[in-house]
Symmetry: C5
Subunit: 153 residues, 5 copies
């Protein structure tokens, strides 16, 4: 089993490196990294990782700017990721950081690092221990922020 | 015949558990549950339930946050669910709870529970008794809220 | 030749019944009706009517609520209907009523009835007398409202 | 070689007739016309013109209303046209007139006539003389309005 | 190995010519240019360059106007480019200039020239030296503007 990690030169945080660091710390699965210019290049990167590099799951690491155009590009990225997953039959965990999520760079960095790490763990669980995710169903897990928890009666 | 139930760890209500509870209370159809991190992972989960786990219908349980990005993710989810249905030829009933639907947590919980239960019944009717839905055509059924009824002349 | 009619239990007007009534009044084509919960279930209903029930054209009758989420669901519905048409090579006439089109229920009912009837006639013309549509090209036909007419020099 | 022309009864200008008039005035290519009710019916019309009527290129003539729903229908139309082009490998030149483009009917009519004629010439050039388009690359061509020209240093 | 370059007559800058100039200055890869009317014609142009002209990568050069309709056309373009990439398995680097990015023409021209040149280098690196992109991962590369850099702890 192999994990694909796709990231971008556009990102202001080395999300691919963080993903690899997290992956190594929790398991010994081999990985392949593929860096592309921007988020609209990530879906084909994911497809190539699955079909040309034999990855069983891919984590795409995207950075989305603040403008209206960036938000539209996020839709385009998202539709592309759906197409790749549905045509290949494999999960592609789409991790995106949006510049409008935080008020300063330190906060963005913290969110990015945390979100990438948590989604790497999610990807590994999907591959090796899906029952772990089922135990967390409906518990308000958040990646990059504190979990908000289940709504209690 | 088998029912697939896909839900998320992002959700603040254990929608998958509610779906299973409702399913057991109305029929004896076997089911398979699959929990993924968030809504953008639900379409591939539905595809896997249909193609790898032999489900004849899937109920996806999604929780949509309040931000503009969450709304865009809802479009992405929705397009993915369309693709899965059209490529597999099976219904995927897409149940989503939107955090901006209610003013407090108690209300959200009530809506979520009610909507999941009603859509499980819809899914079972689509599979086993489609004539029941035809009898309700045009009657303003709402899932999660009170039905609004047919407009009378 | 067969006509498929798909409608929803969400609708506040029995659009499927109106469609059948209109169809019977203008021709003797056989029809198949399929009722689903909501608009996002209509594309797969159309696909099933075409592929499993041998329909040559489908009329989908959808009712769209007022919220932003409803509008996004309209995009999802629309993309799904495009996919079905392009993959099956058949027309799917997508009739939608939007709750924000009218100021009161009586007006909505009037629009819905009129729009369904006119689009049933359009569907029958596409199937049997496409030259009738060509004669009306560019004449500002409106379904549900009065025609606005051609812009004259 | 054959040109397909698809238009609508919704349009307030007989765009298909103008397209045919222009086509005849510049070349002797045969054509097939297909009129449908509205813009969401144009992609399948284009597909049928290509696959069932052997057209090598299609010009779709669409008229887009002013409401938010009309704009969403424009996205749906556009995605459908992309799918048709990519699955058939043929150009579909999508000519749309938006009612919010002009302040009065006379202006809309002028834009529509001009835009259709210019895009018919574009379609013929794509088919027969693609080098003509290359000569105009980056020159700010506008269809329906005056060309805005290249930005000069 | 061959590079495809698709551009438009709508653009106010001769982006295709700039792309060719840059390509020649950095490598001796052969190229094929294809000019189409507007951005919605670029995805099929890219597909034709890949499938009919044997290109291994395509750079599409698009110019997006300021209106709401132009922004919707950007989504349509983007979804089309995703489809082409995913169905052909090749990268299509989608370079777009948005008229609302700059306050005057001189600035737009500067951005366009710079962005095209940088993305041609990205395309060549993807094809010949992907490890160069990996070295730049997460460094906040911007095409058309100054790079913003990595966020430092």
């Amino acid at each position: 089993m192999r994990v694909g990690i796709a990231d971008t030169t556009f990102s202001r945080v080395n999300m691919g490196k963080i993903a690899i660091d997290e992956l190594k710390s929790i398991c010994s699965l081999p990985y392949v990294r593929y860096t592309v210019p921007g988020i609209k290049d990530l879906p084909i990167a994911a497809k190539k990782l699955i079909e040309e590099r034999d990855c069983d799951i891919v984590i795409t690491c995207g950075w989305v700017g603040k403008t209206e155009t960036d938000k539209l590009s996020y839709i385009i990225l998202g539709v592309g990721i759906q197409l790749v997953q549905i045509l290949t039959g494999k999960h592609v965990i789409d991790v995106t950081i949006h510049e409008d999520e935080a008020e300063n760079e330190a906060e963005l960095l913290r969110i990015a690092e945390n979100r990438v790490r948590e989604h790497v763990r999610n990807a590994v669980d999907l591959l090796l221990k899906p029952e772990k995710l089922e135990k967390l169903a409906g518990t308000g897990q958040r990646q990059g922020y504190e979990d908000v928890g289940e709504i209690l009666k």
